[in-house]
Symmetry: C2
Subunit: 184 residues, 2 copies
DNA sequence: GGAGCCATGTAACATGTTACATGATTAT
DNA sequence: ATAATCATGTAACATGTTACATGGCTCC
């Protein structure tokens, strides 16, 4: 699959970046909602991409002597990125979800503990949704940017992340509604 | 984290099972929507659980001489499972999603190819939703079973999986709606 | 001068996938 | 008989996390 390879190629295709920049993107408000990696994964992968001649590297001096490696995409890199973007593969395996797994075994909890677990999770997803909508206001003022700009991709996936949270929240509320009323 | 450990404990807690049974559950209509593992991961984990004395194992002969290992949960296993179910941990990292990653880089595609990619994905998620709702009709007749039964967990997570597909479908339709109209 | 960030890397470990390997049972 | 499924395991590899390790730059 080598998805990390294409994630890095896609970022460098937007503009030349260092490994540090790429890692920062992977922990940003946009990308982190559907892809991420630690720097310990990024640097070795950049090495592989160099070997495969999909990126080139220029050493830049920051200040007195700090060396940064600024990576750029090659024509072959662009070609492979485009090929990957055009793919039509079967649906990926469904994402793993530890909370859903715990709910699957809910009959081993008391109804009170089940309700408590659902409420705690609900709260967290409500906060996450608020966090995402705040970013949406700040970055896009809830207006879709023009297609063919990088901002369009940012906007689409952020909107998707918000919708995902809304759906999760609605699901938990459904589950809570199905739990019996407290005995007085 | 050792989530696989708890997934296996949770299953064996419902009733004694073999490694083969567990693997089958991990590829079923319920569980596979939020957790799964291959048999090559299950058998070694069962070995670890034996070492930790969280499960016991009884050899059963099937037919003439086929040996099955039927695993049961121990009191200590039950205790650890319950502890895990009661946890209140921060939200997991957001699930990775290759299609969203490709959409993030959509400005590198032509608008036509972007629409094509969105349409292909839409179709797949519509099929998946139909697949899930069919199972819902068959297994539960759209009626929530009583809380405190294992079927309640099955129902909850299946409902969640359907809602997840509905949300994904709505997102893709949003994206398509934002794409410009075809020229004449 | 020190805190926090910029910048790059490696090592050990945990998790997960694909392939290799073997053999019994059941239904056609 | 033979194909599909039941049943259990290991090996090699890919992916991802945590910890170790080093040093420069910028702002206070």
């Amino acid at each position: 699959m080598r998805t990390l390879k294409y994630a890095i190629l896609g970022l460098i295709n937007r503009e030349p970046m260092t490994g540090y920049d790429i890692t920062r993107e992977f922990n940003s408000n946009n990308l982190a909602n559907f892809w991420y990696a630690k720097h310990s994964q990024v640097y070795p992968e950049l090495g592989r991409l160099m070997e495969e001649k999909l990126v080139t590297c220029e050493v830049v001096i920051q200040g007195e002597k700090l060396e940064k490696k600024l990576y750029s995409i090659t024509p072959e890199g662009k070609a492979q990125l485009l090929e990957w973007l055009m793919k039509n593969e079967p649906l990926e395996a469904t994402p793993k979800d530890v909370f859903r797994l715990r709910m699957y075994f809910s009959d081993f909890m008391t109804p009170e503990e089940l309700k408590n677990q659902l409420s705690l999770q609900l709260e967290k997803h409500i906060l996450k949704k608020k966090y995402l909508t705040d970013i949406m206001h700040e970055n896009h003022h809830d207006q879709a940017p023009a297609i063919t700009t990088p901002e369009f991709g940012d906007f689409m996936v952020l909107e998707g992340a918000i919708m995902r949270e809304e759906s999760y929240i609605a699901w938990i509320q459904n589950c809570l509604a199905r739990c019996p009323e407290e005995e007085k």
